[in-house]
Protein backbone atom coordinates (compact mmCIF):
# COMPACT_ATOMS: atom_id res chain seq x y z
CA UNK A 1 0.00 0.00 0.00
CA UNK A 2 2.62 2.49 -0.98
CA UNK A 3 0.11 4.75 -2.66
CA UNK A 4 -1.21 5.92 0.63
CA UNK A 5 2.14 7.26 1.61
CA UNK A 6 2.31 9.61 -1.32
CA UNK A 7 2.32 13.06 0.06
CA UNK A 8 0.00 15.48 -1.66
CA UNK A 9 1.23 19.00 -1.43
CA UNK A 10 -1.55 21.32 -0.22
CA UNK A 11 0.02 24.18 -2.11
CA UNK A 12 -0.34 22.35 -5.37
CA UNK A 13 -3.79 20.86 -5.05
CA UNK A 14 -6.79 22.47 -6.58
CA UNK A 15 -8.61 24.82 -4.34
CA UNK A 16 -11.48 27.25 -4.43
CA UNK A 17 -11.18 30.80 -3.24
CA UNK A 18 -13.80 33.50 -3.03
CA UNK A 19 -13.32 36.37 -5.37
CA UNK A 20 -13.92 40.01 -4.52
CA UNK A 21 -17.49 39.87 -5.76
CA UNK A 22 -18.26 36.71 -3.84
CA UNK A 23 -17.82 34.44 -6.83
CA UNK A 24 -16.01 31.16 -6.53
CA UNK A 25 -12.68 30.96 -8.27
CA UNK A 26 -11.08 27.61 -8.77
CA UNK A 27 -7.34 27.71 -8.69
CA UNK A 28 -5.32 24.90 -10.11
CA UNK A 29 -1.81 25.81 -9.02
CA UNK A 30 -0.05 23.62 -11.53
CA UNK A 31 -2.02 25.09 -14.38
CA UNK A 32 -2.27 28.62 -13.18
CA UNK A 33 1.05 29.31 -11.60
CA UNK A 34 3.38 27.41 -13.86
CA UNK A 35 4.09 27.54 -17.52
CA UNK A 36 3.63 24.05 -18.89
CA UNK A 37 5.33 24.53 -22.23
CA UNK A 38 7.96 21.98 -23.21
CA UNK A 39 11.50 22.98 -24.09
CA UNK A 40 12.25 23.73 -27.69
CA UNK A 41 15.32 23.01 -29.65
CA UNK A 42 17.13 26.21 -30.62
CA UNK A 43 19.04 25.78 -33.83
CA UNK A 44 22.47 27.31 -34.04
CA UNK A 45 22.87 30.32 -36.30
CA UNK A 46 22.91 29.27 -39.88
CA UNK A 47 25.84 31.48 -40.75
CA UNK A 48 28.77 29.46 -39.63
CA UNK A 49 30.89 32.48 -38.97
CA UNK A 50 28.43 33.93 -36.53
CA UNK A 51 27.96 30.70 -34.75
CA UNK A 52 31.64 30.10 -34.27
CA UNK A 53 32.06 33.68 -33.10
CA UNK A 54 29.29 33.25 -30.59
CA UNK A 55 30.66 29.93 -29.51
CA UNK A 56 33.98 31.56 -28.93
CA UNK A 57 32.28 34.14 -26.75
CA UNK A 58 30.37 31.46 -24.88
CA UNK A 59 33.55 29.51 -24.34
CA UNK A 60 35.47 32.50 -23.07
CA UNK A 61 32.72 33.69 -20.80
CA UNK A 62 31.57 30.80 -18.68
CA UNK A 63 29.23 31.81 -15.94
CA UNK A 64 28.95 29.15 -13.35
CA UNK A 65 25.88 28.60 -11.29
CA UNK A 66 26.85 28.46 -7.68
CA UNK A 67 25.15 25.18 -6.93
CA UNK A 68 27.19 22.82 -4.85
CA UNK A 69 26.16 19.23 -4.44
CA UNK A 70 27.93 16.60 -2.45
CA UNK A 71 31.44 16.94 -1.19
CA UNK A 72 32.81 18.47 -4.36
CA UNK A 73 31.50 21.91 -3.72
CA UNK A 74 34.32 22.46 -1.33
CA UNK A 75 36.69 22.08 -4.21
CA UNK A 76 35.03 24.89 -6.13
CA UNK A 77 35.91 27.72 -3.82
CA UNK A 78 39.66 27.41 -4.25
CA UNK A 79 39.03 28.15 -7.90
CA UNK A 80 38.43 31.74 -7.00
CA UNK A 81 41.49 32.10 -4.82
CA UNK A 82 44.72 33.66 -5.98
CA UNK A 83 46.26 30.25 -6.26
CA UNK A 84 43.96 28.97 -8.97
CA UNK A 85 42.11 32.10 -10.07
CA UNK A 86 39.59 30.77 -12.51
CA UNK A 87 38.72 34.32 -13.51
CA UNK A 88 41.73 34.21 -15.78
CA UNK A 89 39.84 31.84 -18.00
CA UNK A 90 36.71 33.89 -18.14
CA UNK A 91 35.01 31.80 -15.52
CA UNK A 92 32.74 33.71 -13.16
CA UNK A 93 30.24 32.68 -10.56
CA UNK A 94 26.62 33.76 -10.86
CA UNK A 95 24.06 33.46 -8.14
CA UNK A 96 21.05 32.86 -10.35
CA UNK A 97 20.47 30.10 -12.88
CA UNK A 98 18.89 32.58 -15.27
CA UNK A 99 22.25 34.16 -15.90
CA UNK A 100 24.44 31.10 -15.62
CA UNK A 101 25.67 28.93 -18.48
CA UNK A 102 27.45 26.19 -16.69
CA UNK A 103 26.13 23.97 -14.01
CA UNK A 104 28.73 22.06 -12.03
CA UNK A 105 27.42 18.96 -10.39
CA UNK A 106 30.08 18.64 -7.78
CA UNK A 107 29.62 15.16 -6.50
CA UNK A 108 26.97 12.65 -5.64
CA UNK A 109 23.37 13.66 -6.08
CA UNK A 110 20.80 12.45 -3.64
CA UNK A 111 17.34 12.07 -5.06
CA UNK A 112 16.21 15.16 -3.25
CA UNK A 113 19.07 17.23 -4.61
CA UNK A 114 18.58 15.81 -8.06
CA UNK A 115 15.15 17.32 -8.17
CA UNK A 116 16.55 20.73 -7.34
CA UNK A 117 19.44 20.30 -9.70
CA UNK A 118 17.06 19.50 -12.52
CA UNK A 119 14.93 22.50 -11.73
CA UNK A 120 17.91 24.78 -11.73
CA UNK A 121 19.22 23.22 -14.89
CA UNK A 122 15.91 23.75 -16.59
CA UNK A 123 15.83 27.35 -15.50
CA UNK A 124 19.12 28.04 -17.21
CA UNK A 125 18.93 29.37 -20.71
CA UNK A 126 20.07 27.74 -23.88
CA UNK A 127 22.96 27.23 -24.50
CA UNK A 128 23.83 25.66 -21.18
CA UNK A 129 26.47 23.24 -20.14
CA UNK A 130 26.91 20.70 -17.41
CA UNK A 131 30.17 19.69 -15.84
CA UNK A 132 30.13 16.70 -13.55
CA UNK A 133 32.80 16.16 -10.95
CA UNK A 134 33.98 12.99 -9.42
CA UNK A 135 33.24 9.34 -9.76
CA UNK A 136 29.91 9.66 -8.07
CA UNK A 137 28.38 11.34 -11.08
CA UNK A 138 29.79 8.76 -13.40
CA UNK A 139 28.95 5.52 -11.72
CA UNK A 140 27.87 6.34 -8.22
CA UNK A 141 31.36 6.02 -6.84
CA UNK A 142 31.37 4.95 -3.27
CA UNK A 143 27.62 5.45 -3.17
CA UNK A 144 27.01 3.03 -5.99
CA UNK A 145 24.56 1.00 -3.96
CA UNK A 146 23.08 3.78 -1.87
CA UNK A 147 19.35 3.80 -1.67
CA UNK A 148 18.99 7.47 -2.34
CA UNK A 149 21.75 8.64 -4.63
CA UNK A 150 21.86 8.37 -8.37
CA UNK A 151 24.59 6.51 -10.10
CA UNK A 152 24.80 8.04 -13.53
CA UNK A 153 24.17 11.69 -14.01
CA UNK A 154 23.83 11.62 -17.76
CA UNK A 155 20.68 9.62 -17.50
CA UNK A 156 19.06 12.73 -16.10
CA UNK A 157 20.71 15.60 -17.84
CA UNK A 158 23.16 15.88 -20.69
CA UNK A 159 26.67 16.20 -19.33
CA UNK A 160 29.30 17.96 -21.37
CA UNK A 161 32.39 17.26 -19.34
CA UNK A 162 33.20 14.75 -16.65
CA UNK A 163 36.09 15.50 -14.40
CA UNK A 164 37.25 12.34 -12.81
CA UNK A 165 38.61 11.95 -9.34
CA UNK A 166 37.32 11.63 -5.88
CA UNK A 167 37.28 14.51 -5.54
CA UNK A 168 39.06 16.22 -8.41
CA UNK A 169 41.42 18.92 -7.33
CA UNK A 170 40.93 22.47 -8.57
CA UNK A 171 43.62 21.96 -11.15
CA UNK A 172 41.56 19.14 -12.58
CA UNK A 173 38.52 21.33 -12.66
CA UNK A 174 40.49 24.01 -14.47
CA UNK A 175 41.45 21.37 -16.97
CA UNK A 176 37.79 20.48 -17.18
CA UNK A 177 37.03 24.10 -18.08
CA UNK A 178 39.60 23.94 -20.85
CA UNK A 179 38.04 20.78 -22.15
CA UNK A 180 34.63 22.36 -22.02
CA UNK A 181 35.88 25.41 -23.88
CA UNK A 182 37.23 23.21 -26.63
CA UNK A 183 33.94 21.44 -26.85
CA UNK A 184 32.01 24.65 -27.03
CA UNK A 185 34.28 26.16 -29.61
CA UNK A 186 33.91 23.04 -31.67
CA UNK A 187 30.17 23.51 -31.53
CA UNK A 188 29.67 20.18 -29.80
CA UNK A 189 28.31 21.46 -26.56
CA UNK A 190 24.66 21.31 -27.54
CA UNK A 191 23.48 19.82 -24.28
CA UNK A 192 20.46 22.10 -24.08
CA UNK A 193 19.21 21.04 -27.45
CA UNK A 194 19.96 17.45 -26.64
CA UNK A 195 17.89 17.76 -23.53
CA UNK A 196 15.05 19.33 -25.46
CA UNK A 197 15.16 16.69 -28.16
CA UNK A 198 15.25 13.79 -25.76
CA UNK A 199 13.13 15.45 -23.18
CA UNK A 200 10.73 12.55 -22.79
CA UNK A 201 13.49 10.09 -22.13
CA UNK A 202 15.17 12.32 -19.64
CA UNK A 203 11.91 13.04 -17.92
CA UNK A 204 11.05 9.39 -17.74
CA UNK A 205 14.39 8.66 -16.17
CA UNK A 206 14.00 11.48 -13.76
CA UNK A 207 10.53 10.52 -12.71
CA UNK A 208 11.59 6.97 -12.19
CA UNK A 209 13.85 8.17 -9.44
CA UNK A 210 11.86 11.12 -8.20
CA UNK A 211 8.55 9.67 -7.16
CA UNK A 212 6.83 12.85 -6.08
CA UNK A 213 7.38 14.92 -9.19
CA UNK A 214 4.35 17.10 -8.73
CA UNK A 215 5.26 19.99 -10.95
CA UNK A 216 4.90 20.55 -14.68
CA UNK A 217 7.43 18.57 -16.61
CA UNK A 218 9.63 21.48 -17.48
CA UNK A 219 10.56 24.19 -15.05
CA UNK A 220 10.76 27.46 -16.86
Amino acid sequence: MEDKKIFTDPDLTKRTVIGPNGEDITVDPIQDYFCDALPKKHEPKRAKIFESFFNWARAESIWVLGFGTGCGSIELYPLLTPRFDAYRFGVQMRPTPRQANLMIISGYLSVKTLKRAIRSYEQMQNPKFVMALGSCTINGGMYFDSYNTINRLDKYMPVDVYVAGCMPRPEAILAGFEALKKRIKAGKAEGANLYAENFETYKKNQKKIIRDWNMPDYNW
Partner: protein, 301 residues
Protein backbone atom coordinates in the same frame (compact mmCIF):
# COMPACT_ATOMS: atom_id res chain seq x y z
CA UNK B 1 12.50 71.36 -37.27
CA UNK B 2 15.74 70.50 -38.92
CA UNK B 3 17.87 67.76 -37.51
CA UNK B 4 21.58 68.33 -37.34
CA UNK B 5 22.65 65.00 -38.78
CA UNK B 6 26.33 65.60 -38.30
CA UNK B 7 25.76 66.31 -34.68
CA UNK B 8 23.74 63.15 -34.37
CA UNK B 9 26.63 61.29 -35.96
CA UNK B 10 29.08 62.78 -33.52
CA UNK B 11 26.80 61.94 -30.65
CA UNK B 12 26.53 58.35 -31.75
CA UNK B 13 30.25 58.24 -32.19
CA UNK B 14 30.66 59.62 -28.72
CA UNK B 15 28.27 57.00 -27.46
CA UNK B 16 30.30 54.33 -29.15
CA UNK B 17 33.48 55.64 -27.63
CA UNK B 18 31.93 55.84 -24.23
CA UNK B 19 30.51 52.37 -24.49
CA UNK B 20 33.88 50.90 -25.38
CA UNK B 21 35.57 52.99 -22.82
CA UNK B 22 33.07 51.88 -20.24
CA UNK B 23 33.56 48.24 -21.00
CA UNK B 24 37.31 48.54 -20.95
CA UNK B 25 37.19 50.58 -17.82
CA UNK B 26 35.11 47.93 -16.16
CA UNK B 27 37.57 45.24 -17.26
CA UNK B 28 40.40 47.35 -16.04
CA UNK B 29 38.81 47.91 -12.70
CA UNK B 30 38.17 44.20 -12.32
CA UNK B 31 41.76 43.58 -13.17
CA UNK B 32 42.96 46.06 -10.64
CA UNK B 33 40.64 44.60 -8.08
CA UNK B 34 42.10 41.19 -8.78
CA UNK B 35 45.60 42.45 -8.36
CA UNK B 36 44.70 43.82 -4.99
CA UNK B 37 43.49 40.35 -4.08
CA UNK B 38 46.81 38.97 -5.40
CA UNK B 39 45.05 37.37 -8.32
CA UNK B 40 45.78 37.88 -11.94
CA UNK B 41 42.19 38.48 -12.79
CA UNK B 42 40.16 38.32 -15.91
CA UNK B 43 41.34 39.71 -19.20
CA UNK B 44 40.69 43.38 -19.72
CA UNK B 45 38.44 42.57 -22.65
CA UNK B 46 36.35 40.11 -20.65
CA UNK B 47 33.34 42.50 -20.41
CA UNK B 48 33.16 42.49 -24.21
CA UNK B 49 32.97 38.72 -24.27
CA UNK B 50 30.36 38.67 -21.55
CA UNK B 51 28.33 41.17 -23.46
CA UNK B 52 28.55 39.26 -26.72
CA UNK B 53 27.72 36.04 -24.98
CA UNK B 54 24.69 37.52 -23.33
CA UNK B 55 23.42 38.93 -26.57
CA UNK B 56 24.01 35.55 -28.20
CA UNK B 57 21.93 33.53 -25.78
CA UNK B 58 19.54 31.43 -27.78
CA UNK B 59 16.54 31.12 -25.52
CA UNK B 60 14.81 33.61 -23.30
CA UNK B 61 11.81 33.86 -21.13
CA UNK B 62 9.60 36.80 -20.39
CA UNK B 63 7.31 37.66 -17.51
CA UNK B 64 5.30 40.31 -19.31
CA UNK B 65 5.45 43.62 -21.04
CA UNK B 66 6.93 45.54 -18.18
CA UNK B 67 9.64 42.89 -17.96
CA UNK B 68 10.71 43.98 -21.40
CA UNK B 69 10.42 47.63 -20.61
CA UNK B 70 12.59 47.47 -17.52
CA UNK B 71 15.93 47.13 -19.27
CA UNK B 72 14.74 49.48 -21.99
CA UNK B 73 14.00 52.16 -19.43
CA UNK B 74 17.30 51.45 -17.76
CA UNK B 75 19.37 51.74 -20.88
CA UNK B 76 17.37 54.70 -22.11
CA UNK B 77 18.10 56.35 -18.78
CA UNK B 78 21.80 55.68 -19.14
CA UNK B 79 21.97 56.78 -22.75
CA UNK B 80 19.81 59.77 -21.87
CA UNK B 81 22.28 60.96 -19.29
CA UNK B 82 24.98 60.62 -21.88
CA UNK B 83 22.91 62.40 -24.51
CA UNK B 84 22.29 65.44 -22.39
CA UNK B 85 25.86 65.65 -21.14
CA UNK B 86 28.39 67.94 -22.77
CA UNK B 87 31.56 65.90 -23.20
CA UNK B 88 34.31 68.15 -24.41
CA UNK B 89 34.41 71.76 -23.38
CA UNK B 90 34.31 74.16 -26.25
CA UNK B 91 33.30 71.64 -28.85
CA UNK B 92 29.96 72.04 -30.54
CA UNK B 93 29.82 68.50 -31.84
CA UNK B 94 30.97 66.84 -28.65
CA UNK B 95 28.44 68.62 -26.53
CA UNK B 96 25.77 66.10 -27.49
CA UNK B 97 22.21 67.25 -26.85
CA UNK B 98 23.05 69.31 -23.85
CA UNK B 99 21.16 72.20 -25.38
CA UNK B 100 17.96 70.41 -24.30
CA UNK B 101 18.52 70.93 -20.65
CA UNK B 102 20.94 71.54 -17.89
CA UNK B 103 22.30 69.58 -14.97
CA UNK B 104 18.86 69.27 -13.43
CA UNK B 105 17.68 67.35 -16.42
CA UNK B 106 20.59 64.98 -16.02
CA UNK B 107 19.96 64.52 -12.32
CA UNK B 108 16.34 63.64 -12.92
CA UNK B 109 17.17 61.42 -15.81
CA UNK B 110 19.00 59.17 -13.39
CA UNK B 111 15.64 58.37 -11.85
CA UNK B 112 14.21 57.45 -15.19
CA UNK B 113 16.34 54.37 -15.50
CA UNK B 114 16.03 53.48 -11.86
CA UNK B 115 12.28 53.54 -11.81
CA UNK B 116 11.98 51.67 -15.08
CA UNK B 117 14.34 49.02 -13.87
CA UNK B 118 12.46 48.77 -10.63
CA UNK B 119 9.18 48.22 -12.43
CA UNK B 120 10.62 45.75 -14.87
CA UNK B 121 12.24 43.71 -12.16
CA UNK B 122 9.05 43.76 -10.14
CA UNK B 123 7.14 42.37 -13.07
CA UNK B 124 9.38 39.35 -12.72
CA UNK B 125 7.65 38.76 -9.45
CA UNK B 126 10.72 37.57 -7.64
CA UNK B 127 10.72 38.57 -4.00
CA UNK B 128 14.41 39.31 -4.05
CA UNK B 129 13.80 41.82 -6.79
CA UNK B 130 11.38 43.65 -4.57
CA UNK B 131 13.74 43.59 -1.66
CA UNK B 132 16.64 44.76 -3.75
CA UNK B 133 14.59 47.57 -5.24
CA UNK B 134 13.27 48.71 -1.92
CA UNK B 135 16.82 48.84 -0.65
CA UNK B 136 18.07 50.61 -3.70
CA UNK B 137 15.38 53.25 -3.65
CA UNK B 138 15.75 53.73 0.07
CA UNK B 139 19.45 54.25 -0.16
CA UNK B 140 19.11 56.48 -3.14
CA UNK B 141 16.93 58.96 -1.27
CA UNK B 142 19.67 59.99 1.06
CA UNK B 143 22.50 59.58 -1.42
CA UNK B 144 21.01 62.30 -3.53
CA UNK B 145 20.74 64.82 -0.72
CA UNK B 146 24.42 65.74 -0.35
CA UNK B 147 24.82 65.47 -4.08
CA UNK B 148 22.03 67.94 -4.66
CA UNK B 149 23.48 70.31 -2.13
CA UNK B 150 26.78 70.11 -3.93
CA UNK B 151 25.17 70.71 -7.32
CA UNK B 152 23.28 73.68 -5.97
CA UNK B 153 26.47 75.02 -4.44
CA UNK B 154 28.24 74.74 -7.76
CA UNK B 155 25.31 76.26 -9.60
CA UNK B 156 25.21 79.18 -7.24
CA UNK B 157 28.92 79.64 -7.51
CA UNK B 158 28.80 79.81 -11.28
CA UNK B 159 25.37 81.34 -11.42
CA UNK B 160 24.19 78.72 -13.81
CA UNK B 161 22.78 75.25 -13.96
CA UNK B 162 24.24 74.78 -17.39
CA UNK B 163 27.08 72.27 -17.33
CA UNK B 164 28.79 74.08 -20.15
CA UNK B 165 28.80 77.25 -18.10
CA UNK B 166 30.02 75.42 -15.05
CA UNK B 167 32.89 73.90 -16.99
CA UNK B 168 33.66 77.25 -18.53
CA UNK B 169 33.93 78.73 -15.10
CA UNK B 170 36.53 76.18 -14.09
CA UNK B 171 38.93 76.77 -16.94
CA UNK B 172 42.36 78.09 -16.27
CA UNK B 173 44.17 75.58 -14.16
CA UNK B 174 43.69 73.24 -11.34
CA UNK B 175 43.11 76.00 -8.84
CA UNK B 176 39.92 76.97 -10.60
CA UNK B 177 38.35 73.57 -10.28
CA UNK B 178 35.37 73.46 -8.06
CA UNK B 179 36.93 70.78 -5.94
CA UNK B 180 39.51 73.39 -5.05
CA UNK B 181 37.32 76.45 -4.92
CA UNK B 182 34.62 74.74 -2.96
CA UNK B 183 36.19 71.67 -1.40
CA UNK B 184 33.31 71.00 0.96
CA UNK B 185 30.77 70.71 -1.79
CA UNK B 186 33.22 68.69 -3.80
CA UNK B 187 33.85 66.23 -1.00
CA UNK B 188 30.15 65.96 -0.27
CA UNK B 189 29.51 65.14 -3.89
CA UNK B 190 32.35 62.63 -3.97
CA UNK B 191 30.94 60.89 -0.92
CA UNK B 192 27.52 60.84 -2.51
CA UNK B 193 29.15 59.48 -5.62
CA UNK B 194 30.10 56.39 -3.63
CA UNK B 195 26.45 55.72 -3.09
CA UNK B 196 25.51 56.49 -6.67
CA UNK B 197 28.01 53.93 -7.91
CA UNK B 198 26.56 51.40 -5.48
CA UNK B 199 30.02 50.14 -4.74
CA UNK B 200 30.88 48.60 -1.43
CA UNK B 201 30.14 49.69 1.29
CA UNK B 202 26.90 50.74 -0.31
CA UNK B 203 26.24 47.68 -2.42
CA UNK B 204 23.68 46.07 -0.21
CA UNK B 205 21.21 46.60 -3.03
CA UNK B 206 22.60 43.75 -5.05
CA UNK B 207 24.20 41.94 -2.15
CA UNK B 208 25.10 38.78 -4.12
CA UNK B 209 25.50 36.56 -1.10
CA UNK B 210 22.21 37.58 0.39
CA UNK B 211 19.53 38.21 -2.18
CA UNK B 212 21.20 36.68 -5.23
CA UNK B 213 21.77 39.90 -7.10
CA UNK B 214 18.78 41.95 -6.16
CA UNK B 215 16.68 43.54 -8.86
CA UNK B 216 18.07 41.74 -11.92
CA UNK B 217 17.61 38.29 -10.44
CA UNK B 218 15.31 37.26 -13.25
CA UNK B 219 17.15 39.04 -16.05
CA UNK B 220 19.26 37.09 -18.45
CA UNK B 221 20.40 36.99 -22.02
CA UNK B 222 19.56 40.07 -24.03
CA UNK B 223 17.95 41.79 -21.05
CA UNK B 224 21.12 41.36 -19.09
CA UNK B 225 23.07 42.49 -22.12
CA UNK B 226 21.14 45.72 -22.14
CA UNK B 227 21.76 46.17 -18.47
CA UNK B 228 25.48 45.57 -18.96
CA UNK B 229 25.55 48.02 -21.81
CA UNK B 230 23.85 50.49 -19.59
CA UNK B 231 26.32 49.93 -16.82
CA UNK B 232 29.17 50.72 -19.12
CA UNK B 233 27.56 53.89 -20.38
CA UNK B 234 26.01 55.04 -17.14
CA UNK B 235 29.08 54.70 -14.98
CA UNK B 236 31.18 56.60 -17.44
CA UNK B 237 28.48 59.23 -17.89
CA UNK B 238 28.20 59.75 -14.19
CA UNK B 239 31.95 60.00 -13.90
CA UNK B 240 31.90 62.58 -16.66
CA UNK B 241 29.22 64.44 -14.76
CA UNK B 242 31.48 64.57 -11.73
CA UNK B 243 34.38 65.66 -13.90
CA UNK B 244 32.31 68.42 -15.38
CA UNK B 245 30.98 69.53 -12.04
CA UNK B 246 34.10 69.47 -9.94
CA UNK B 247 37.20 68.65 -11.93
CA UNK B 248 37.23 71.33 -14.55
CA UNK B 249 35.63 69.36 -17.35
CA UNK B 250 37.79 68.36 -20.26
CA UNK B 251 38.98 70.03 -23.40
CA UNK B 252 39.84 66.83 -25.22
CA UNK B 253 39.08 63.14 -25.09
CA UNK B 254 42.33 62.15 -23.44
CA UNK B 255 41.76 64.53 -20.59
CA UNK B 256 38.19 63.37 -20.30
CA UNK B 257 39.13 59.72 -20.16
CA UNK B 258 41.93 60.19 -17.69
CA UNK B 259 39.86 62.36 -15.41
CA UNK B 260 36.79 60.21 -15.49
CA UNK B 261 38.85 57.11 -14.90
CA UNK B 262 40.41 58.66 -11.86
CA UNK B 263 37.02 59.77 -10.64
CA UNK B 264 35.62 56.34 -11.18
CA UNK B 265 38.52 54.84 -9.35
CA UNK B 266 37.47 56.59 -6.19
CA UNK B 267 34.46 54.38 -5.39
CA UNK B 268 36.43 51.34 -6.44
CA UNK B 269 39.20 52.26 -4.07
CA UNK B 270 36.78 52.80 -1.22
CA UNK B 271 34.87 49.67 -2.06
CA UNK B 272 37.98 47.54 -1.86
CA UNK B 273 38.82 48.77 1.56
CA UNK B 274 35.51 48.86 3.33
CA UNK B 275 33.00 46.14 4.07
CA UNK B 276 29.33 46.44 3.31
CA UNK B 277 26.89 48.57 5.23
CA UNK B 278 23.45 47.38 6.15
CA UNK B 279 20.64 49.42 4.67
CA UNK B 280 19.76 51.04 7.95
CA UNK B 281 23.37 52.02 8.38
CA UNK B 282 23.96 53.35 4.93
CA UNK B 283 20.83 55.53 4.80
CA UNK B 284 21.68 57.64 7.83
CA UNK B 285 25.36 57.69 6.88
CA UNK B 286 24.63 60.03 4.01
CA UNK B 287 22.72 62.29 6.33
CA UNK B 288 25.72 62.73 8.56
CA UNK B 289 29.11 63.75 7.25
CA UNK B 290 28.18 64.22 3.58
CA UNK B 291 25.13 66.26 4.45
CA UNK B 292 27.05 68.51 6.80
CA UNK B 293 29.78 68.98 4.23
CA UNK B 294 27.15 69.77 1.64
CA UNK B 295 25.56 72.39 3.83
CA UNK B 296 28.92 73.96 4.59
CA UNK B 297 29.66 73.83 0.89
CA UNK B 298 26.51 75.73 0.08
CA UNK B 299 27.23 78.43 2.58
CA UNK B 300 30.82 78.67 1.44
CA UNK B 301 29.67 80.16 -1.82
Amino acid sequence: MSIDWIKLLFTLLGLFIVLNYGLLQYGMIRRITARIGKRIGMPVYQPYIDLIKNYSMRSQITHGVMFYLGPVFRLAGGVGIFMFMPLIYGSYYWSNYSFSGDVILIMYFMFFGMLGMALGASEGGHPYSFIGISRGLSQFTTVEVPFTLAVIAVAVQHHSFSLTEIVAGQQGGIMHWNIMTNPFAGIAAMLAFLGMMMASPFNVVQAPQEIPIGPPTEYHGTYLGLLQTNRAILYVSESILMVNLFFGGATNWIELIVKSFLVFFWPVFVGLVFPRFRIDQSIPWFLKLPLILGIIGIFMV
